[in-house]
Symmetry: C2
Subunit: 563 residues, 2 copies
């Protein structure tokens, strides 16, 4: 059967985009081929808002048959954090049948070479991009993100991170030539001469273990890094967030088949309630790579037990903001209020601990006491979320009952400056929508440590009184070293304090945002430019995306012959 998509077509279509991505990961300037605005879709084959919504609605209550070998049952029980059950079922796999079937197409995928794999991945991303409106609803109704965030973070931003991984994977493979002629002089004798041939070979089947909150954004880097380096990819979604990754697998299988490859190079592993198949899959000898986003406990279990695999984990952390001084008090408050509110604080990058000197801080609006700073921040959050429509658009819904339970318990941890408020969502009355809680703690009291040195995932922040800037830096260091951090932020007008915080972040290996007062927030990172995580503190053993994230997903085998 002739492939419907030829290598020539794919390279013509996607090589310029790949080249631009390769250039951008070198310059780290701004770039994205994936539009952020919903109105940018609806032409050139992409689904409009109405078409995307209709496509999503058509999925509800359906059986999504991906045509996978070894499908022995149908599984799925997603209930939207906004209320409705999705009612979609997905293939449940007999692993003994599916894993060998996934390996069958490896040789052809390997032999296709790095460029063909890259442009095939770009075609998958392009088709996902065209269905961004449909994906937005799928992400919204599995993660609880508000629509606009689900659209952007689950759509173009996730696609950017996928493309970034493809670019890193390509450049890593392309740095070794396919062939080399090696001629070593031997004085008066004939030189030694060899012809060498180098092939990037895959490690084996890659397992992607998806998360509930950012199924596509956190799933795509590993998925595309592994696929672009020649590995089949088995996607094990979070049981509450199957649909966005099932759609992704569907698109990938379709493109692979059209390009003449075995669609089983990408497959879905949905599970029955409570089945917990990740643990069993993770230690299978066929699984050679694992990408995981989720709890520290299971991440550490994977690192310790899935010894046959390369394991990339993003786990929990405790993100800190040092508030030492500012020349833009209102800007700081507005920026922080937004950071705490976005998606109800359910981002791995949301700040948790705000370290503020107990004697207060210097600002452009005069000296502010500790209590004033916390109260002003509470007021800023309240103001930002005062209108219910705007609050719903920013907060989304709590992703699951655990978050609500944690939020409810957190108000007992200290003095509440800003209580969490319940917001009703007129469109989705069953959605659980809550505003951020801010609790004051005293950093000098040992019994407060248990609270602020644990991750309290959800809309909970601690305003921690510290003795001084130096004390803040020391606590920052200890937090990153012991608990990990995906992000660190700081506000200071002092060069000396800024330098101390920078040095702490360099030594403890955490990504730092300094004095953000405008429209960029500490919780957001941009693909091609910002690294997400550092891979050097306990929150994550890898960064999105760098050479280390891709270089060990394949190996290079050399065959040499005398020339």
């Amino acid at each position: 059967m002739a492939a419907a998509l030829t290598a020539h077509q794919l390279i013509d279509k996607h090589r310029p985009t790949l080249d631009q991505a390769l250039e951008t990961i070198r310059t780290r300037a701004y770039w994205s081929p994936h539009p952020e605005h919903p109105k940018a879709y609806g032409e050139n084959g992409s689904l409009s808002a109405a078409e995307g919504k209709a496509a999503f609605d058509a999925l509800l209550g359906s059986r999504m048959d991906l045509g996978q070998p070894g499908t022995d049952d149908w599984a799925g029980g997603e209930v939207s954090p906004y209320g409705p059950a999705l009612g979609i079922t997905y293939p449940h796999a007999d692993i003994e049948v599916l894993l060998p079937a996934m390996r069958a197409g490896m040789r052809a995928w390997r032999d296709a070479g790095a460029e063909m794999r890259a442009v095939t991945c770009l075609e998958i991303l392009a088709r996902i991009s065209a269905r961004t409106h449909e994906f937005a609803h799928a992400v919204m109704h599995t993660s609880g993100q508000a629509f606009m965030m689900a659209f952007q973070a689950g759509g173009p931003h996730a696609q950017d991170r996928g493309l970034e991984a493809v670019a890193y994977a390509y450049v890593e493979q392309a740095r070794t030539p396919d062939t080399a002629e090696w001629t070593k002089p031997q004085g008066k004798r004939d030189p030694l001469a060899l012809n060498k041939q180098f092939t990037a070979v895959p490690r084996g089947i890659a397992l992607v273990i998806g998360c509930n909150t950012f199924p596509t954004w956190n799933g795509y880097p590993g998925l595309f890094a592994s696929l672009a380096t020649g590995n089949p990819v088995l996607v094990k979604p979070h049981p509450r967030a199957v649909l966005p990754l099932a759609l992704t697998v569907q698109v990938a299988r379709e493109v692979l088949a059209e390009a003449g490859f075995d669609p089983n190079l990408v497959a879905l592993a949905a599970e029955r309630p409570g089945e917990g198949i990740a643990k069993a899959l993770a230690v299978r000898p066929e699984i050679k790579i694992i990408d995981y986003t989720g709890s520290t406990a299971f991440g550490e279990w994977l690192e310790a037990n899935a010894r046959q695999a390369q394991v990339y984990t993003e786990k929990a952390g405790v993100n800190t903001i040092v508030v030492e001084s500012t020349d833009n008090y209102q800007g700081m408050l507005a920026n922080l209020a937004f950071s705490l509110s976005l998606y109800s604080g359910q981002m791995c990058t949301t700040p948790q601990n705000l370290l503020i000197p107990r004697d207060g801080i210097a600002t452009d609006a005069g000296h502010k006491t500790f209590d004033e700073v916390v109260a002003d921040l509470a007021a800023a959050v309240s103001g930002l979320l005062g209108d219910d429509a705007r609050a719903n658009a920013l907060l989304g819904a709590l992703v699951n009952p655990d978050v609500k339970a944690r939020l409810d318990a957190a108000s007992g941890l200290g003095e509440v400056t800003l209580p969490s408020r319940e917001i009703s969502n007129p469109e989705f009355p069953d959605a659980v929508v809550r505003t951020p809680l801010i609790v004051k703690l005293d950093g000098a009291k040992p019994d407060a440590e248990a609270a602020y040195l644990s991750e309290c995932f959800g809309p909970v922040s601690f305003a921690v009184a510290v003795d001084s800037a130096a004390d803040a830096v020391e606590l920052l260091r200890r937090t990153v070293r012991d608990k990990g951090a995906m992000t660190v932020g700081a506000y200071t007008t002092s060069d000396e304090v800024a330098e101390a915080i920078e040095e702490a972040c360099l030594e403890e290996c955490a990504q730092l945002s300094l004095n953000l007062t405008g429209g960029v927030y500490v919780n957001q990172t941009a693909a091609f430019s910002d690294f997400h995580g550092s891979g050097g503190n306990p929150a994550a053993n890898s960064a999105l995306c760098d050479g280390a994230f891709v270089a060990n997903r394949f190996r290079v085998v050399e065959v040499r012959r005398e020339a």
Copy 2:
């Protein structure tokens, strides 16, 4: 104190060499800045043969004081495999003092940046190169390599591998710019604009655990990869092969100090007999990177237990040669005879199992039965080593009594075609010199498996009768998959068999040399061009040298501010 070596001087002197190395790892053509011929030394500040010998002699019986902090004792009991005790003692460290001292200079080394680190490493290598004659004796009298091999493999070839690691480390760090301006359009509103600053930060102290047989060649890649990426390096040599690495540490400390850095960025950890400090060091929280060459048992222990560190291991493997057919029978025999003899088979790359069809093979000299092939190979080895002077120059000495014990036992494993012969060394009468043993085994007999599926490190090869080429390929696959392999070789005139063997090597991830009949041997790899190991089979979890070998030795920390 002003540095005696300025950045400007070091960059002027070494940047061209670095650039050539960067170019060569891309083209993988032949290149080396380190002369292989002993007569190339003695001018431009390098030691001549006589000067190198005198320098080595002056070390014998001495105390090598490296000026390290925390030196609480002196340790060392090396005895040359050629007989004489070296009588040299080295600093024994109080780790509680030494490790903190090694961290003290990290910040300045980090802040120096990737280029300055690279050229400082190149200055270290240049000074080692100038003392190649001295190092040659040190390697010879710790590893048992014959002088010429100790000179080349322990000198220029090891220096090449060190330089290769520096080049990979540099390019990996330089791919992210130091700074970036990021400007994201916002329609009619002002764009979002950030200034970003990226810093390569070290992981922590790196531990190099040296081996007995190739202290410099196997030690330099990890040492220089870690140092060039900003990490202090603690070198824990094999207790029988301290001197070559102690000299290396001495040179590194001297160069670091002259360049204005803390010499404690590189230190030696010598140990008392039976102290076994590697195990204790490996799990110290300060140790974040480990490079190890040695037994599978300890390598696997490190991988399982040194969880706080990035662990790079080269362990044991079982190297296979498939002998299916040849159009150059004499060339094949000569090439194999040399491969089996070089350094008494004590290379991790020496072939062990020769898989030969029991019905014999087609050659340019007519059909050869299995027995004829083995007998002819035995004759080729005997011919090569017939002259005692030549035998000594090729074989060197057995590195330790374990090798001799294994050799003695191996003759009981099957029918001996070529018995091992004792060679006397007139210069060093106590040297234990043995020619290779060749034992015939039947691959169809299950009881033979225990022999040929274990590494028998030393001058022992098994000629294994297999049913067919397909059977050979299947056994090759199983051997690589279950036992690992640093090298695979094959002789065949059949395109079909060659393809099957290539496919087996691609799928099982092993480096293949096809039909070598001239002056290149399967056991040898050239830096900048050949990968040593694949990192994809049980013999080693990393390859020398590729992106994966360096990319995770540092992390990138980003600091971003509004523009």
